[in-house]
């Protein structure tokens, strides 16, 4: 059972066209909701039942998030879609935008109806030009067909949907940074509380959901929350898109039930390239702590299973590394990333991410000192949990994970001023 929700049109030719989407029953559930005037509470209830958790990485229950919006509060409310896909290893939302944009549109309209919002923005990262054009084309088609705009299908419900293009900043994937960015500012996360449900875009109540989360909504509404929940396992409802990349034969995006064994996913992805040994897996985007290969082969792809191994499912971005990889070098590259992408607003992240990178860089280039491993641990610990947003944690966790499982490699670098990989 694969590609049943977000990728359900993938087998069609030019699946992004509205007629293709409609050929699979697209927009039917929106029509039903609008004609039957389904109670918004019932929609939120259904989403809660589905067990859908935020697909952007944080895994917060989507239905619960929606229920925080006070539907009857006066004034504008917004639905915002987070298509600022940038967590290294993640490339699933790009496929939704490219191949099934209408399902996202339908999901956003339903979300707007459920929370009483008449306007939405889809924040697409600026580099995603092709997905942006596909989505814009889909918006045109949907407007033309009357699924967007004023008085949708004669229901009296209005919903305007626009694209906002990013311009290159990983931090805008953080929901409040994303809102700041739409407001024409630097993408610097806001201190919370207040949460976007109360003070969001332009100060109005706002829900922000990941592309995959919102694109899952039409199927949840069509087939029912229980159907969706039953695809997955306990605490991990539904299928999920996994972006799998690294040293494998057939990297790509696979929509499979939550709880699928990692080994099956790896097999779907063609197994290890050149028949090499699996050394390690980063199971949920680069901020997820690394898990040694053998251990990973025993795990299932769901929130609890991965968390049980001390990591996280995150955005479902699986980076598979074979035994030719030097883990110091991998961490150096990841630390460089967080150093580059820190917004600079709060002290521990602004100063600490650079420090982390420089220590790892020192070790990688044979300049490491004995005390560096403890220092790395300590600096990571001083960042984690002390920052305005989760980027600080995201920078600290890979360090902590690497030292937990591959400390010996780091030690070897320090002791021998070179890498142990390939040294017998």
């Amino acid at each position: 059972m694969a590609n049943e929700v977000c990728l359900r049109t993938l087998d069609l030719e030019r699946p992004w066209l509205i007629e293709q989407y409609q050929s699979r029953g697209g927009y039917e559930v929106l029509k039903k909701i609008l004609s039957e005037k389904t109670a918004p509470e019932a929609i939120i209830e259904e989403v809660k039942k589905s067990g859908l958790r935020g697909r952007g990485g944080a895994g917060f229950p989507t239905g619960l998030k929606w229920s925080f919006i006070s539907r009857n509060a006066p004034g504008q409310k917004y639905v915002v879609c987070n298509s600022d896909e940038g967590e290294p290893g993640t490339f699933k939302d790009r496929d939704i935008l490219r191949y099934n944009p209408h399902q996202l549109i339908e999901g956003m309209v339903i979300a707007g109806y459920a929370i009483g919002a008449t306007c939405g923005y889809n924040y697409i990262r600026g580099e995603f030009w092709e997905p942006y054009e596909r989505f814009e084309q889909a918006l045109e088609e949907a407007r033309e067909a009357g699924f967007l705009g004023e008085d949708i299908l004669g229901s009296g419900f209005d919903f305007q949907l626009h694209t906002h293009l990013g311009a290159g900043a990983y931090i805008c994937g953080e929901e409040t940074a994303l809102l700041e960015s739409i407001e024409g500012k630097k993408g610097q996360p806001r201190y919370k509380p207040p949460f976007p449900a109360h003070f969001g875009l332009y100060g109005c109540p706002t829900i922000i959901n990941n592309t995959e989360s919102l694109a899952s909504i039409p199927m949840i509404m069509e087939q029912g929350g229980e159907w969706f929940a039953d695809i997955g396992v306990k605490n991990s409802g539904g299928p999920k898109l996994f972006s799998i990349s690294g040293n494998i034969n057939n990297p790509g995006v696979f929509e499979i039930p939550m709880g699928t064994p990692f080994s099956e996913l790896l097999a779907m992805a063609g197994g290890m390239k050149d028949g090499r040994k699996i050394k390690a897996v980063i199971p949920g985007g680069s901020s997820a702590p690394v898990i040694p290969g053998e251990q990973m082969m025993e795990l299932n792809m769901d929130y609890d299973s991965i968390a049980g191994a001390g990591s996280m499912l995150g955005s479902g971005a699986v980076i598979v590394l074979d035994d030719t990889n030097c883990m110091v070098k991998i961490l150096e590259r990841m630390s460089y990333f967080y150093h580059e992408e820190s917004c600079g607003q709060c002290t521990p992240c602004r100063e600490g991410t650079g420090w982390l990178y420089r220590i790892v860089h020192r070790i990688e280039t044979g300049q490491g000192r004995q005390e560096d491993l403890d220092l790395l641990d300590d600096v990571a610990d001083k960042i984690a949990g002390k920052t305005i947003c989760a980027l600080g944690d995201a920078a600290a966790m890979p360090v902590q994970g690497m030292l937990r499982h591959f400390r010996h490699e780091f030690q070897y670098h320090i002791d021998h001023k070179r890498c142990m990989v390939g040294v017998g």
């Binding site: 709060c346 521990p348 602004r350 100063e351 991410t353 650079g354 420090w355």
Partner: protein, 785 residues
């Protein structure tokens, strides 16, 4: 959010607070120290420095006290192992890229980072990489930058946006490369800019004039009051030995809050100008010579005493002088049988005096400006007249107040408002239109004006907003008061305010403009603010009909007067001019016979009565320079030499107390003036001149503050006019123009400026370069030079 009180526990102490208050405000009030850098009580919460992280029971992560609202039963630990670990972690991060240049840093000794590092830092850095270096940009003559020291607390950025109302500083770049600054080489032009020096917790932003001149621990601090505008901002003067090294604000929530204007902060530089008058001088056969005090005073007393005719000794007194000086000067002159006394040197129309029975004033408390619902400002460029008042009005505007302006030039404002831009003559009509819209009828010539006025949409909106507001005001600014039809503007404003239930607010010009009225330093009021039986001639009349003798106190011919050219010619024609002055200038030397060196600003004790009538006393902080003496002492001796009664003071306090007793029962009142029939004086024909006094041209001290004089707000001796008007006048490609006004003439550079209404050219007063011309408003002709 509710108003309910909650009980919390901090480090075992039980505290009560309003629910929703930020934890740091509660602990600050209770005297519990939590270290912080980005938090400032007057700025929005940024929560970015992470120094105030504390442990809260049942919360896994440490929380920033500045952004954590208190809730009932909350248990907080500010110095638990977890809290301290978080605070020390932040400290270490802040220090890794901070230079270790404390020995050469101007902030050394008063640096928040240094202070907190002592409590929360390590002895040895574990960071062995190179530190971040930031290239500095020149951001103008007031603020020195050393951005390598910046810890990115963003207080300066938030100040610009939230208080100064212009975003000049920002945080560009991201991550470790984020830089606080202007990005481009650009001067920071806000009239409140210097406050970022105080806000900056480190030595990144320091005072440029003060730079490298003293160390914090060498300085002693004494209290002071700023004399320049009518707010009377509270100051801390920082002294080394006998020198004022710098000026900081002293918190006073009801006056200047935590801020001071740049004028109040940097004007002290004028104390050390090279043209200080340091010895008594007399003019003998056209030559100036230094003499001793005895001789100078005797000659002054003899010269003034000789003039026996009624009202023939005129006293022209600076409204920035102390209350004691103003009081003694008028006492001396009245003792000589003259009522020719005035301190309203820039006022353009005194027809009201006949009906003014009380001192006019701000009309409301300074702090009440914050909560105005509506204001109509007539002829007032508040930001460039009274910066702190402008800040308070902006607060009101941001809170929703409707602010309207009737103004002779387009103003650069930092909030939503509406401006009705009119030529000076047209201003009266515009105000009449608002009054008409509010239903004001009036009588006599006022009725004619009101009848002729057309209540347009602006007038209707402005009138409606004044009526709707629970607290509203019609404010008469400096350009209204220097207007030749100020009396009409006042009458219309008073009528309008009456019809709308609004206050009339006359913005006093200087630090003692209200005090001068209470001291009797105006022709129509006696000490105690009591109405004079027969009003003497006002400042303008005293010059139009020159006196035989004059006593000048802290004023300079040509730059401190409504009609600069007239002020010089009238004074030059007098037989005897005695000036008490801190400075010697060519203009003073040309006009005067005797120059008596006077202490100024921090050199003398004295009282200031601010715009709302608050008496604020200051002590002399440093010794006067050279032979200079406090003005009250000079006047006391002159009184003695002229054998006047009641000049035997030994202490300035006695003078202040004497006047204070006289003021018992005195009230400040901006009531409508009855029974005046006023015709407009300012003609509508021909090309008109408009003129203001630039912010840093207001008084002798400021005009000598070197750093302020390098800023935009020092003003320029140019003629500004609208490009279309320039075309009409054949000046659109002219470098210079000849301006003729009432027989006066000047050649000035031409500047095209769309802020000036057509039909008008703009030439500022208060500048030596324009002092050969006449009054700021009136008919002129121009031609290409």
């Amino acid at each position: 959010m509710t108003d309910s009180t909650v009980t919390i526990e901090v480090d075992g102490r039980t505290l009560e607070a309003k629910a929703g208050t930020m934890l740091i405000d509660v602990t600050d009030a209770a005297g519990i120290t939590i270290p912080r850098f980005c938090y400032h009580k007057k700025l929005s919460v940024a929560a970015n420095c992470r120094m105030c992280l504390v442990e809260v029971e049942k919360v896994p992560k440490p929380l920033p006290a500045c952004a954590t609202p208190v809730t009932d039963g909350m248990k907080v630990y500010t110095r638990s192992p977890k809290a301290l670990a978080a605070q020390k972690g932040t400290m270490e991060f802040l220090l890794i890229n901070h230079p270790l240049d404390c020995p050469i840093c101007d902030q050394g000794g008063e640096c928040e980072l240094q202070d907190v590092a002592i409590g929360y830092g390590r002895d040895v850095s574990r960071y062995s990489e190179g530190k971040r270096v930031v290239a500095d940009k020149n951001i103008g003559p007031l603020i020195a930058t050393d951005m390598t020291r910046c810890i990115h607390c963003t207080r300066c950025v938030r100040f610009g946006e939230e208080i100064a109302g212009i975003r000049e500083m920002g945080a560009t770049g991201r991550g470790e490369h984020m830089v606080i600054g202007t990005y481009i080489e650009k001067s920071v032009d806000s009239e409140l800019s210097g406050n970022v020096i105080d806000l900056c917790p480190v030595g990144a932003l320091t005072s440029k004039p003060f730079r490298f001149n003293a160390r914090a621990w060498e300085l002693t601090q004494v209290e002071g009051v700023a004399p320049h505008d009518s707010i009377g901002s509270n100051l801390n003067l920082h002294l080394r030995g006998n020198q004022v090294m710098r000026v900081h604000p002293r918190d006073n929530e009801s006056i200047n809050e935590s801020w001071i204007s740049d004028r109040d902060r940097f004007s002290y530089e004028g104390l050390y100008s090279s043209d200080r008058l340091t010895s008594p001088m007399i003019k003998k056969s056209g030559e100036w010579m230094e003499v001793n005090w005895e001789m100078a005073l005797e000659m002054a007393a003899a010269g003034l005493g000789e003039i026996k005719e009624q009202d023939q000794v005129g006293a022209l007194l600076s409204p920035t002088a102390t209350l004691e000086e103003l009081y003694l000067a008028q006492k001396l002159i009245r003792g000589l049988g003259s009522n020719s006394i005035d301190s309203r040197l820039r006022q353009g129309d005194f027809r009201l005096d006949a009906g003014l029975k009380q001192a006019s004033w701000l009309g409301l408390k300074i702090s009440d400006i914050d909560s105005l619902d509506a204001a109509l400002v007539v002829g007032g460029n508040l930001r460039k007249e009274q910066p702190i008042l402008a800040h308070r009005l902006r607060k009101a505007a941001l809170a929703g107040a409707a602010v309207h302006f009737i103004t002779p030039l387009q103003l650069e404002l930092n909030y939503e408002s509406r401006q009705s831009i009119a030529t000076p003559a047209e201003m009266v009509k515009r105000l009449a239109a608002v009054a008409k819209a509010a239903g004001v009828k009036g009588s006599g010539s006022l009725a004619a004006l009101l009848n002729a006025a057309e209540a347009d949409e602006f007038a209707e909106t402005a009138a409606a907003s004044l009526k709707q507001g629970d607290a509203s005001a019609v404010v008469l600014g400096a350009m209204a008061q220097s207007h030749p039809d100020y009396s009409l503007l006042y009458a219309l404003a008073a009528g309008l305010a009456g019809a709308c239930g609004a206050k009339v607010s006359v913005l006093p010009e200087a630090g003692n403009s209200v005090g001068a009225q209470l001291a009797g330093a105006v022709p129509h009021l006696l000490p105690g603010g009591k109405s004079a039986q027969s009003a003497g001639p006002d400042a303008l009349s005293m010059l139009k009909l020159p006196r035989k003798g004059y006593l000048l106190l802290g004023v300079e011919p040509g730059v401190d007067f409504h009609n600069p050219a007239l002020s010089q010619s009238a004074l030059q024609s007098a037989d005897m001019v005695v000036a008490l002055s801190a400075y010697r200038t060519p203009e003073l030397e040309a006009c005067c016979d005797i120059l008596l060196p006077m202490a100024i600003f921090s050199e003398t004790s004295g009282t200031y009565v601010n715009a709302e009538g608050v008496w604020q006393r200051t002590r002399g902080a440093v010794k006067p320079q050279g032979e200079a003496r406090p003005g009250w002492k000079i006047l006391r001796v002159l009184g003695n030499l002229l054998n006047q009664q009641g000049f035997d003071y030994t202490d300035p306090d006695e003078i202040g107390e004497e006047l204070h007793a006289l003021c018992n029962g005195a009230s400040l009142d901006n009531r409508p003036v009855e029974g005046l029939d006023l015709e407009p004086k300012l003609g509508r024909d021909g090309l008109q001149r408009g003129g203001d006094t630039p912010l840093y041209a207001s008084d002798p001290l400021v005009r000598r503050a070197a750093a302020l004089q390098q800023t935009k707000d020092a003003g320029q001796g140019v003629m500004r006019l609208h490009p279309k008007e320039a075309e009409r006048q054949g000046l659109n490609s002219a470098e210079n123009a000849v301006i003729r006004q009432n027989g006066y003439q000047a050649t000035l550079p031409v500047t095209l400026d769309e802020a000036i209404p057509e039909g008008c050219v703009w030439i500022s007063t208060g500048l030596r370069s324009t002092s050969m011309l006449g009054q700021p408003f009136g008919e002129v002709t121009v031609e290409k030079a």
